[in-house]
Each structure stands twice: as C-alpha cells, then as structure tokens.
C-alpha cells in the first residue's frame, strides 16, 4: 500500500469514521473483471448494440474505439446501469449487474462523463467530495484530506475553492477524474475523455491517466474516437462499428491488423498527421 494512501486512510488501516463516531469502510480498490455477453440494445427502430461480447480482465486498461454513433457511450452506460439492455448480460466479478436488484454491489464503479458533468453550483472541492459527503463515508476532516489528495493526483492541488466556471475545459475534465477517484473505484469508465479538448490538453490528460494507472489498481474502460489516445493508454483495444465488435487485440495488433474496417478507421483518423 503506498504511503499517501496510508496517510489518507489513517495509520495504515482502511477504516474511517463519520461524525457520529461509527466506523465505515473506505477500502483500497481492487480491479474487477467485466464480462459482457450477447448484449443488444435498440432505440426506436435503431439497433445500436448488436450481440456485444467482451471480456475485460481485472486491472486492465481497455479501450473501445470506433466511429461516432456506433454505441460506444451506450455500452458504457449499460455497465453503470444507467441503461438496461434488451437482451444479454453484464457480469462484474461474476455478479449479473441487472439481476442483483437493490442488493449493494460488491465493487465500486465510477464514470467520467464526456461533458465532465460537474455540478455548477458547487466548487471544485465540493464536486470532488460529493460522493463522500452524500454517502457519509467518513468525517469532514478526512473528506477534506481526501479531496486535497485526489486533486493533487490530477495536478490540481490547491484549486478546491475555485468554482467550475473559473476553470478551463481541461481542468474540468481533471476535476471529473478526481471526483471519480474519490469513490475509490474498482472500475473506472471514461466516456470520450478528450472530447472538447485541444491536442495539447489531450496529451496532458493522457499523461495524468497514465500516472494514475501506475499509482492505483483498478480496471479502466475508455471509450474514445481518438485512436492515438486509446492506443497510448490501453492494454487492449476493441473496435466497434454499427455491426458490433470488429476486432479485439493489443494496440500493436490493432495497428497491424489486416481487417479493412480497422485499416480504414486508422487511415481516416490519422491522415491529417500524414500531412494530406
């Protein structure tokens, strides 16, 4: 367990206490396995997800790439149970997430939305500490310490009193990541993290996400149409199009794939860099 984590949780244990003195658990994250089997979803007459089958290993960084409108974000929203499928299943650590009812899941999951989805009425610090306060995880002193630590992790130390209207798009994305990290997630999902960001800020964000992977253990799923970003960060990549999963492999395998759909996607995504 790294020293900063011990400091946050207090004396090497993973227990916190709320203001009433009750002990609650703010446990160290552990990566989870995600199994998606025969997932189908239609909206109106439009069949968005067709027989999606994926297995994501614990602690893996898995990217889902593909053109816009192919259901990448819809797939992510299934994993966090914002949408229910027409058929198929999703198992996280062996638990069918759509059949667990009101039972508390045995894992923690958080999502970084495409729009960052920060709450405009709250400051940066209040956004990051929202889950901790609303779910009464630990004492206010501990919460403040956690907020400071999570903001430090994303390179925004000392910015907790700023309002969301006072920060840039890149900073908003990092605050959203800090907010997700405050949950101590076993599974973290990123929906188009580079959307609305310039290339320099995207690169900065990629470095932040890479450093988080080194410091913390959790499973990561990234949905992106930014091929370079996805290939840089991920252990494995799946390409999706309107007919479902095209191919799954390591970044090298995807880059060297002979599949014409993938070759076309790589060409159209990178041809600007070739100076054409």
């Amino acid at each position: 367990m790294s020293s900063w984590f011990k400091k946050i949780l207090g004396h090497g244990n993973n227990k916190g206490s709320d203001t009433s003195g009750r002990t609650v658990h703010y446990e160290k994250p552990k990566g989870v396995e995600v199994r998606i089997a025969n997932l189908n979803k239609s909206f109106g007459g439009h069949h968005v997800l067709k027989d999606i089958n994926l297995v994501i290993e614990p602690n893996e960084t898995f990217a889902i790439i593909g053109p816009s409108g192919t259901g990448k974000s819809v797939l992510l929203k299934h994993i966090v149970k914002l949408i229910e499928p027409d058929s198929g299943s999703i198992h996280i650590n062996g638990e069918d997430i759509f059949r667990s009812g009101d039972k508390k899941p045995g894992y923690r999951c958080s999502m970084v939305f495409q729009t960052s989805a920060l709450f405009n009425s709250l400051t940066v610090g209040e956004n990051v500490g929202l889950w901790l306060r609303e779910n009464r995880i630990c004492s206010e002193t501990r919460i403040r310490a956690i907020i400071q630590e999570k903001l430090r992790l994303v390179g925004l130390a000392g910015k907790e009193n700023l309002h969301t209207s006072e920060i840039s798009g890149g900073m908003k994305k990092r605050v959203a990541i800090a907010r997700s990290l405050a949950v101590n997630p076993d599974l973290i999902l990123y929906d188009e993290p580079t959307a609305e960001l310039d290339p320099v800020t995207s690169d900065e964000l990629a470095r932040v996400m890479k450093s988080l992977r080194r410091e913390l253990e959790f499973t990561t799923i990234i949905v992106s149409h930014d091929l370079n970003f996805a290939l840089y960060l991920s252990d494995r990549v799946a390409m999706i199009n309107q007919d479902g999963i095209v191919e799954t492999g390591t970044p090298e395998e995807i880059k060297n794939s002979e599949n014409p759909i993938i070759r076309n996607f790589i060409y159209t995504t990178t041809k600007g860099l070739k100076g054409e």
């Binding site: 929203k77 966090v80 914002l82 999951c109 958080s110 999502m111 939305f113 495409q114 729009t115 989805a117 920060l118 709450f119 929202l130 889950w131 609303e134 779910n135 009464r136 949950v183």
Partner: protein
C-alpha cells in the same frame, strides 16, 4: 383522429401518473431533510426572500385595483364602507394565494425546470446516479420543502400588502373616501381564522404543484438548449393550468 386523441389521452394519464409518483418519492425523502438543511435553506431563500419584492409590487397593485374597482361601484349605492371586508376576503380567499402562486410559478417554477433540465441534458443527473445519490432526494426534495415553507409566508405577506394597498386607495380616492379605521374595522369583522387557514391551505397546495411540476418537467428534458427552453415554458404553462384546476376543486371542497 381517434388515434390522435387516444395517444394524447394516454400521454396525459402517463404524465399524471409520473407526477404523482415523483410527488410520493419526494415526500418519502422528507426524512432526509435534517441532513440537507443547507440546500433547503438555499431554496427557501431563493423562493421566499427572492420573490418578496415582486410579490409586494404585485400585491400592492392588486389590492389597489380591487379597492378602486369595487369601491367605485359600491359608492354608487352608498355601501362603500364594506370595502375593507371585500378587499380582505378577496385577498385571503383567492387573490393572495392564486396571484402569488402564478408569480412564483413564473419565476421559480421556470427556474427549477431550467436548472434541473440543464442538469439532465448535461449528464449531471446521470453523474448523481452513478454516485448512488438519488436525484429526487438531492434535487426535488429541497425544492418541494422550500416551496411548502415559503409559499404560505409569501401569501401572508401578499395579503397584508394587498390590504394596505386597498386601504390607501379607499382613503385617498374621492369617489370611495372610506377612512382607514372604518376600512380596518370592516376587515377585522369579516375575517376569521377559518378563512385565513383556507387561504394558507391553497398556498401550500399550489406550492407543491409548482415544485413538483418544475422538477418533473426538468427531469424529462431532452434535446439540448432548445429542450431546456421548451421545458421552461412547459413548466410554467402546466403549473398555471394545475393551479387553476386545483383552485376550483379546493374552493368547492372548502365551501
């Protein structure tokens, strides 16, 4: 044609059911109110204190116009001395609750729909759900409680200002010319606690309508900025409609 009307009717029933469900869910979360005091206080301030100036203006002129119109007609028959009772009872039973509610629906109901609608469109409500925070508890409950607490207070304020406006016009208008003490004596004779209670009951019901409709329309918002604009309008129109309908049935019940 049948299909068109049938579809409209089904949507009406569905919407009514969803509003009732939202109301019940919001009331269920009243038990969480003690730990949401900051957000409830914020809503109370915006609804109550924020609406005071315009409520004062509205009530003043409503009272003045009521006194002017009624007093000038009564003066033709020499019975203008009862103007205090008429203005007082009208303000307490109808004009105070209804006019104040319409004002709050336009000002606060639209703001609620816009704020919650923007949160829905920009995925903030989805973010709340992923953090296991109920959007009904976090957003709707403080707004409903704020309205339930602020509306009766606003209505009382509106009644007082309206009565004062009526007294002013009654005393200075040469056609009516009713001294303030006569106006006041008549007012006190006519009013009783039952009438005031009925007025406050209406205020509470109307406050409930404004908050639930504003939040409901906000939660159902789709379609970006345009959708938010449409939701704002829809919340105001629906609130107005339901206030008028509820006013009739409440008046009928309390007769």
């Amino acid at each position: 044609m049948f299909e068109f009307f049938g579809r409209k009717l089904l949507r009406l029933f569905q919407g009514t059911g969803e509003i009732v469900i939202l109301l019940l869910q919001t009331v269920f979360y009243f038990k969480e109110a003690p730990r949401n005091l900051p957000s409830i206080s914020r809503q109370l301030y915006e609804i109550g204190v924020g609406t005071l100036p315009i409520t004062a203006l509205m009530a003043l002129f409503v009272g003045m116009v009521l006194a002017l119109q009624t007093g000038s007609q009564l003066a033709l028959y020499g019975t203008q001395d009862v103007i205090g009772a008429i203005v007082g009872l009208s303000m307490v039973k109808e004009l105070g609750p209804v006019m104040t509610s319409l004002l709050v629906a336009g000002r606060i109901g639209s703001a609620m729909a816009a704020e919650v609608g923007a949160m829905e469109v920009y995925e903030e409500i989805d973010a709340l759900k992923t953090f296991q925070i109920s959007p009904v508890r976090y957003l709707a409950m403080p707004r409903l409680l704020g309205c339930l607490l602020a509306m009766p207070a606003l209505v009382v304020f509106a009644i007082v200002v309206g009565v004062i406006g009526g007294a002013f016009v009654s005393s200075v208008n040469p056609l009516i010319n009713v001294p303030v003490n006569v106006y006041y004596d008549n007012l006190i004779q006519a009013l009783n606690y039952t009438e005031i209670f009925k007025g406050l009951l209406k205020a509470t019901v109307f406050g409930c309508i404004i908050a639930v409709v504003g939040c409901y329309v906000g939660f159902k918002t789709t379609g970006g900025a345009r959708g938010i604009g449409q939701s704002t309008t829809r919340a105001v129109v629906l609130s107005f409609l339901l206030i008028f309908v509820a006013n009739y049935f409440l008046t009928r019940l309390m007769l």
